[in-house]
């Protein structure tokens, strides 16, 4: 398992797209936090829950989706370029390969999430302090925002494994946004239990009705179910 993870880490390190994702995350943080706080701080944003919203949305939504898409297209890319063959030759017991992918992308997501949060706070804190306001952050709030990134990375790896096509995987992840909105029309308040709805709950954004514990449990459930589904599909699949 260690050798498989080592290989996957090398794989991430040796592709320019990995650094593109990191740059994209940094750019998202800079643009979102600076633009939003610069416009609304002290005007629309006064209460701590409002003041920290740009930080939470940038890390918990934007960076989360970037990493989720990257994980999905990275795993599906193995099928596009035929590198899945080599990976399976090295790991004929396929569940081990999936576990290695999950571990690698989860670790990558934690690093990116933590770095994005650090950068966002480094930008936001001086701006907020200058207005004599507060972000009202607690460790639980910070960890919750960072935790969405790896949880969705797991979902991304699973979708990439199941779809095998980068385009299809991206379509599923991006298309789930409007799909969830449509479902919300039928489900009412239950929409809070759907994946993207749970992000709002986990981040404690305005209108959150579920506790963070419930939200993290539900999201973990989605991540686990998607990973199990991916494992079942991968185990049965012919690679030809």
């Amino acid at each position: 398992m260690i050798t498989l993870i080592h290989s996957q880490v090398l794989g991430l390190r040796t592709l320019r797209s990995t650094y593109g994702v990191l740059l994209g995350a940094v750019a998202a943080v800079l643009v979102m936090v600076l633009a939003d706080l610069g416009t609304n701080l002290g005007v629309a944003y006064v209460e701590p829950v409002e003041v920290r919203e740009p930080v939470m949305i940038t890390v918990g939504v934007i960076v989360t989706i970037i990493v989720c898409l990257y994980a999905a297209s990275g795993v599906a890319g193995d099928y596009r370029y035929g590198t899945i063959t080599q990976r399976l030759l090295a790991a004929p017991r396929r569940s081990r390969l999936l576990m290695a992918s999950l571990a690698t992308y989860t670790a990558f997501a934690i690093v990116v999430g933590a770095a994005a949060m650090g950068l966002a706070l480094a930008i936001a804190q001086p701006l907020v302090a200058a207005e004599d306001l507060t972000l009202g952050l607690t460790p639980v709030i910070v960890v919750s925002a960072i935790a969405t990134v790896p949880l969705f990375a797991i979902v991304g790896v699973s979708i990439g494994t199941i779809c095998r096509s980068q385009a299809a995987a991206v379509l599923v992840i991006v298309g789930w946004f409007p799909a969830e909105r449509l479902l919300g029309l039928a489900l009412g308040d239950w929409v809070a239990y759907l994946p993207y709805g749970l992000i709002n709950q986990l981040l404690g954004l305005d209108g959150a009705t579920l506790g963070r514990g419930t939200a993290v449990l539900c999201l973990s459930g989605y991540a686990a179910v998607s990973a199990l589904l991916a494992a079942a599909v991968l185990a049965r699949r012919d690679v030809s």
Partner: protein
């Protein structure tokens, strides 16, 4: 220096080494299409075996089933007595080169470094293998810019990463120019001399005829024959010579007296089977015959191969 692992070949029975690769009753269906049909063959340790068949005959499916990438519908495949998935250290037991398995944006060195990590090999082996396949000068170039021949060499380096005793190569000569084919031939011979067992597929017998010891020929997913290459060629290479003379009856009689068959055709030519042209010339001289034509029509290597593998039914 590359370390090598030598399989101790202990001749058994008629001097053959024990089988290290065994395919037993393998069948594979894709929907209603049967790609491989009750295929059985074995590969002796320490030999180079050509796995031959026309395009679409089931070679790649068989190799992928052997390597655990495709689940057989029936039958099983074993390497060193075990299914691939049950091998403890698969990359150190079997090295394989299938179709493109490299990310085009990655350099050759980084590609091999990933394989080294998977195989538990040292980073120094990456440099050794790049040197071995003569890609050291291109080591830091992206694979997407490689020629087909360079990719094949990189694939061979990857197959050797775990220093395996068995190599499974799918169409390694595909797309290579004559110089590349010669390089490959010498390379494989060198590997075989180290005691490795090599199973390589091809749809062109001539590409591998100077490399392989044994051949397994399949057609429409079924075994046609498995034999040493020499035996196969001898069985299919009876001389056939067309001779033209003013006295065909005399030639036919002379041939019959010498134990050969000559059939005079309506155009006056005599088709002689089983007798080399030189001997026909001597017989004609002894009987004072003037020959106006003597043409060797012995089937070529490719004719023999085509006769064995021409599809009677298309699989794909």
């Amino acid at each position: 220096m590359l370390k090598t692992r030598i399989i101790q070949n202990e001749p058994t029975g008629a001097g053959r080494s024990p089988s290290i690769i065994e395919v037993d009753g393998l069948s594979k269906d894709y929907g209603s299409v049967r790609a491989v049909d009750r295929l059985s063959f074995s590969v002796s340790a320490g030999t180079i075996t050509g796995f031959l068949g026309a395009n679409g005959s089931g070679k790649t499916t068989t190799l992928r089933a052997l390597l655990g990438l495709v689940a057989p519908t029936e039958g099983n495949c074993r390497i060193d007595g075990r299914r691939y998935r049950d091998l403890r250290r698969p990359l150190s037991t079997v090295g394989s080169m299938l179709e493109a398995t490299t990310h085009p944006a990655r350099t050759a060195r980084n590609h091999l470094a990933m394989l080294a990590a998977e195989a538990g090999a040292s980073r120094s082996r990456v440099g050794s293998l790049l040197e071995l396949v003569e890609l050291d000068a291109a080591a830091d170039r992206r694979v997407g810019g490689f020629s087909l021949g360079m990719r094949q060499r990189l694939g061979l380096a990857g197959a050797l990463m775990g220093d395996p005793a068995v190599l499974v190569l799918d169409e390694p000569a595909n797309g290579l120019d004559p110089e590349g084919i010669r390089w490959l031939r010498e390379f494989l011979r060198g590997l075989a001399a180290e005691g490795r067992t090599i199973l390589l597929s091809s749809h062109v017998l001539a590409e591998v005829a100077q490399t392989v010891d044994d051949v397994v020929v399949i057609k429409a997913g079924r075994l046609v024959t498995q034999a040493p290459l020499d035996t196969l060629l001898a069985a299919h290479a009876s001389h056939q010579v067309r001779v033209r003379t003013a006295q065909p009856d005399v030639l036919v009689t002379a041939l019959a007296a010498a134990g050969f068959t000559g059939i005079a055709g309506p155009d006056g030519a005599v088709v002689v089977t089983g007798c080399p042209p030189e001997q026909i010339g001597r017989l004609a001289l002894e009987h004072g015959l003037v020959l106006s034509e003597i043409t060797d029509e012995t089937p070529s290597l490719e004719d023999t191969f085509l006769a064995l593998t021409t599809q009677s039914e298309e699989i794909r």
